[in-house]
Every structure is written in C-alpha cells, then in structure tokens.
Assembly symmetry: C2
Homo-oligomer: 174 residues x 2
C-alpha cells in the first residue's frame, strides 16, 4: 500500500528545525505518503486538490498563508478562488495533517500526523521557519492546569515567536 519509508531525518541538533541542507523532497514525500495512508485508513478522500495543497504547504518549513497557496494554485488551476484554498486547508486541519498558526494566519505541515499530541510551534522571526515540538511535558502540564481549573479543553494552540538557534548565532536567515 504505502511505499517503503525513508529513514527519519534527524532535526538539526535537536532543535526541531531541520538542518539547512536537508533533503527536503524527502520531507514532502514522507508527508504525502503518511497522508495517503491516514486518509485511506479513515476512509476520507485525499483528493487531487487536497493533496496538492498539502504538497504546497509542505513546500518549505515556512508557514504559508491562504492567499500564498491560492497564488501558487492559480498557475495550474485557473478557476482557483479563496474558497478553493480554505476548503482544502479546512480538511487538512481537520485530519490533523496541517496546523493553523493563529498568530500568523498561516499553515504549516504537521510533523506528527495521526498521533494525538499537544504541540508547541516555535516560529523564528528571522528565518520565518516554524518547528513543531511535541514534548510530553507540555501535554502533561497543560492537562494538569486545565484539570485544576475544571476546564474541558478541546483544542490547544501553543505558539512561541523568537529566534531559532541558527538565527541567534548570526547565521544567514535564508
């Protein structure tokens, strides 16, 4: 059913950010392949459009806005309009394949699709990349806090804006 998996790429010194020279096509291929599998398992349709939008979002590790996606789609799909994009990302977010970054109004591929997780998104304001950290300590702490408050949490957004290690040490942000 799904092709043989490429070995998982390690993050750049454990930062959640992949090294600059990493084989990004592998990220994309792995993401698309996992998406196919998950959708098949759930009997939901990863249509051509949805697959393409997922691929565009995975085009880099920088969050992509809806209108950037739209612009990219237009070359290949003349009738594309805002609802085209918003409906596709709605599906992808609902399936946990993509995260919406609230503080940017933008979308980024989910690094842990299919696993239930509370993740923290680290957004570098220099290079624009976003890394996803699914640390169990975070999930634990948030569970404890919301439980103490008697709050029944449904959806979490944990976002931090700052500088990734690479950009702190003065590396060229690109």
């Amino acid at each position: 059913m799904s092709p043989t998996r490429a070995p998982k790429q390690t993050t750049h010194r454990g930062t959640g950010f992949l090294a600059r020279g990493h084989d990004h096509r592998r990220c994309v291929d792995a993401a698309l392949s996992r998406a196919e599998d998950l959708c098949a398992a759930r009997s939901v349709r990863l249509t051509g459009l949805r697959r393409r939008v997922l691929e565009l979002i995975w085009g880099s590790h920088k969050p992509l806005g809806a209108y950037q996606i739209l612009e990219a789609l237009r070359g290949e799909r003349p009738g594309a309009a805002p609802p085209t994009v918003y409906r596709a990302v709605e599906f992808l977010v609902a399936q946990g394949l993509v995260h919406r970054i609230e503080s940017l109004n933008a979308f980024v591929g989910c690094a842990h699709p299919g696993e239930s997780h509370v993740s923290q998104l680290l957004i570098c304001r220099a290079c624009g990349e976003a890394a996803e950290i699914a640390d169990p300590r975070l999930a634990d702490t948030m569970d404890r806090i919301t439980a103490d408050a008697g709050f029944l949490a449904h959806r979490h957004a944990v976002e931090a804006v700052g500088l990734c290690r690479r950009c702190q040490i003065g590396a060229d942000p690109e």
Copy 2:
C-alpha cells in the same frame, strides 16, 4: 496616588473564571486603577481614549473584537475609525494591560498586568468568557522546552478552547 485597593476577588472555585454574580464593577475599577499606576510608573500616557478602550475591553470577561470596540466607541466619539481602535489596543497590549487572543482576533483584559508571566487563556466556547491562568508550571515547562531546542522565545501564546466548569455542568451559558 492610587486609591485604596479593593480586596482581590476570588475566582469561582479556583477555575480562573469569576462567579457569575461577582461584582464586576470592582474588576473594572481595579483594572483601571492598576493601569493608571503602571503607566505613571513607566511614564507612558494612558490617555482618555486608551483608558476608555481599556474600560470597554474590561466591560466583561468576554473577549472583544476590534470592530466591537469601534462600535461602542462611535456613540461617544463620532470620528472613531479602525485605526483609532487598533492604535489604542496596540498600546494596551504593548503595556501588558490587555491580551490579544490570536485564535479569536479579539482582546481581553490582562489579569496580571505588571507581572512578567506566561499565561494560558482558557476560552469557553459555550459562554464565551476567557480566563487567564498564570501557572508557574506552564512557564517552567515552556522555558525548559524552548531551552532544550535552543530557541530564544520572545512572545508566547497559549490558548485552549473548550468548556469551563460552569458550562460543563449544564449551567445556562449566560
């Protein structure tokens, strides 16, 4: 300089949400008074407009959108326009008097102005109220995670959407 402080109101059974019948005028008065003090201490100007916008935001514990604030302002300040509101909230957020809730594009009064804190906003999707929990465990956990990632965090947004205790037990959401 600042008037005698009213005793702090306790939250409803420790949930972060105040009891329905609490004396809300006290919340507002306390918030405005703390704001006056903080701005004076920092030599920044809490002008009439800014004070009024802060008061409107504190009008309830429900986050208020910029255009809701605008609508409220218009009755008393005919020339009010979007920049009027956005500039005032920009100031209030910069001074830590108000939080912007990213997932709602809305603003809510900060419960801990002047104290450095990482806070989690609990947003009830039934009653619409937002509670702010400044639990040191959260700050610790996030510090540890970002430190492990070598990330230099600058700004945090931690938001949870769900049901507050009151609304879980079937209380009238209003």
